[in-house]
């Protein structure tokens, strides 16, 4: 190798990217050529210097928040544009005096000439909200009622509805069902929320209204029998149509109505479960904390504290045992979400061997604790989650993207770090090796 060849390979040599044979030739030359050796050494020094002095910079919270909401808004505004025109037609059921005969005629046409996709539950158009729910259900199935906000995230829809109505809204969260979206409509002065779920091909439709409106003898009413039953038991079941179940229940003085073409008991089970698992359920797992303090020690090990009122460990040192997996993640990060069930399994399976798992959420926003808690409950994450304000990622120094996972050994030192999604097998293998 001559000087020109060596100079061309210098950056590769600095970055340790040369093949064994090439590297041998490279060193053969630099051992004798002082000029090339100096160039090589100086470049190595420069790289090392830059590496230690210039750290990656994390996106400031305000910027990340702004960007995410810009993206979400651009999606929302486009979908609401499409639907507003249809929305003006629906749900203001006085107009249905005109619309119903037309729909009925079309319905009749289909009944006679081709079998309809589903059968109709056409009900009287009056002030009885149960009748209206049957009519609305048909309109939802026919695609005549569409959500103004399409989202599969109940918390997003919940926030949207809360902004638009003045009663309590807890979106039922249904297992095995996909949220399609929701909308708000106005009838006289009163606002109704509408939520659409899908279970396979079956649509489950919810409507919410302030219960005080219904008992206030105004334009939206319920039969007295239903009101009595709701006040007495909190639940009511309407059996106007055998094929379509309608269930009503009360929670925090909001009336919830669910309608679906499924058996009463099945819908009841969904309704009860959704009622239990809704977002503001206070019986949630309490393992989401906020970061309080990060301390660097002289021996390069880290300690950090989190807010905790329950009397359990509230700093890393007392939480840590033999090996801790520190996982930087966020609720919006797909790969992170994929990793969570594996980490939960690991935290359970290896608990007796002194392996701990702690999640560091990089989520941001004004409701971050509630948002993360809701997610944690839904996904049954049992290990503690500490919400980082950026300090911890900075302290770890190497969190360029998420998920990033660090393994901390018995002495409290980071021994391994991985950026990106890893499998359970991968973690188990690392754990077993480190525990030996």
């Amino acid at each position: 190798m001559d000087c020109n060849e060596v100079l061309e390979l210098i950056s590769s040599a600095v970055d340790e990217r040369l093949e064994k044979d090439t590297l041998k030739n490279f060193y053969q030359h630099t051992n004798v050529c002082k000029i090339c050796r100096n160039v090589f050494e100086l470049e190595s020094i420069t790289k090392k210097f830059i590496q230690t002095r210039v750290q990656p910079i994390r996106t400031p919270d305000y910027l990340a928040d702004r960007l995410i909401s810009q993206i979400k808004n651009s999606a929302e505004s486009r979908s609401s544009y499409k639907i507003n025109s249809i929305l003006s037609l629906i749900l203001q059921w006085r107009k249905w005096y005109v619309a119903i005969p037309a729909i009925a005629a079309i319905g009749l046409y289909f009944i006679i000439f081709s079998p309809p996709a589903h059968h109709y539950h056409t009900s009287p158009v009056d002030n009885n909200i149960i009748h209206q729910i049957y009519n609305n259900y048909d309109a939802v199935v026919d695609g005549k009622i569409k959500p103004t906000l399409t989202t599969d995230d109940p918390s997003v829809l919940e926030n949207y509805l809360k902004e638009n109505v003045n009663y309590n809204v807890n979106i039922p969260k249904l297992r095995d069902c996909v949220l399609v979206g929701g909308t708000v409509s106005q009838f006289d002065e009163e606002k109704l929320s509408h939520i659409i779920y899908k279970h396979g091909d079956c649509i489950i439709y919810f409507s919410l209204i302030d219960f005080r409106v219904v008992v206030g003898n105004r334009s939206i009413t319920l039969p007295q029998k239903a009101i009595d039953e709701l006040v007495r038991t909190g639940w009511y079941y309407a059996d106007d149509h055998k094929c379509c179940s309608v269930i009503l229940w009360l929670k925090d003085s909001t009336l919830y109505i669910a309608a679906a073409e499924m058996e009463k008991d099945k819908l009841m089970a969904y309704a009860k479960e959704g009622n239990k698992n809704n977002i503001n359920d206070s019986k949630s797992i309490d393992n989401v904390f906020t970061l309080k303090n990060v301390t660097h020690k002289n021996d390069h090990s880290l300690d950090f504290e989190w807010d905790n009122n329950s009397g359990n460990a509230n700093n890393f040192k007392s939480f840590h045992s033999k090996l801790t997996i520190i996982n930087f993640w966020a609720t919006w990060c797909g790969p992170c979400r994929k990793e969570l069930p594996d980490l939960v399994a690991i935290s359970n399976e290896f608990a007796t061997k002194g392996v701990r798992v702690i999640g560091i959420s990089t989520d941001r926003g004004s409701n971050v604790v509630a948002d993360v808690s809701e997610f944690i409950n839904k996904n049954k994450v049992t290990y503690p989650i500490v919400i980082d304000n950026g300090e911890l990622a900075k302290a770890f120094g190497n969190v360029r993207g998420i998920p990033t996972t660090f393994l901390v050994n018995e002495e409290g030192k980071v021994v391994e770090s991985f950026m990106g999604l890893r499998t359970k097998e991968f973690f188990v293998e690392k754990i077993n090796r480190l525990l030996q």
């Binding site: 420069t46 210039v54 993206i71 899908k198 969190v399």
Partner: protein
Amino acid sequence: MIPQKKQTVKETEFLDEAIPHMDSLYSFARRLTGNPDDADDLLQDTYLKAYRFWDKYEKGTNIRAWLFRIMKNSFINRYRKETKEPETIDFDEIQDFYTKAKDTVDDNDDLGKKIFSGLLDDDVTRALDSLSPDFKTVVILCDIEGYTYEEIAEFIDTPIGTVRSRLHRGRKLLQSKLFKYAKEKGYLK
């Protein structure tokens, strides 16, 4: 029959796949532009463009490379006019200094510390800023962000050989700048 799900799929996909790379891109934007305000604009521009052209992104390919390319192009479009004239730099000076200094020191690490020890973070940022975008990009991506040559080649759409030579040249320019600052401040005699 079911209300439009299309927007949501796009939004969910984008939030899942593109947002996790925000920190890498922001870090790069900060170094590339050299100041927070321009970095904010550049990051925002990049993400909104990426969202708008999400259907152009081929699923399963390197998303980070795709985002980086959008950022690089946005940067070039925006700052093209402001490209500085290259300064003349004396490479020999530092080599001479190093050769002499080496005779008095055994450990290379010590020597490294000695050469650049007195420099402030501002000096380092200033030196990095003085590089032209082509050189700056490869140095940031390799030395600060820690990407491999292959990844960098994909990000900037050039052969690996070009990455290698730009790195060498970029580091050399940086080295001379740092040396110059150190000398100006009187840390080096």
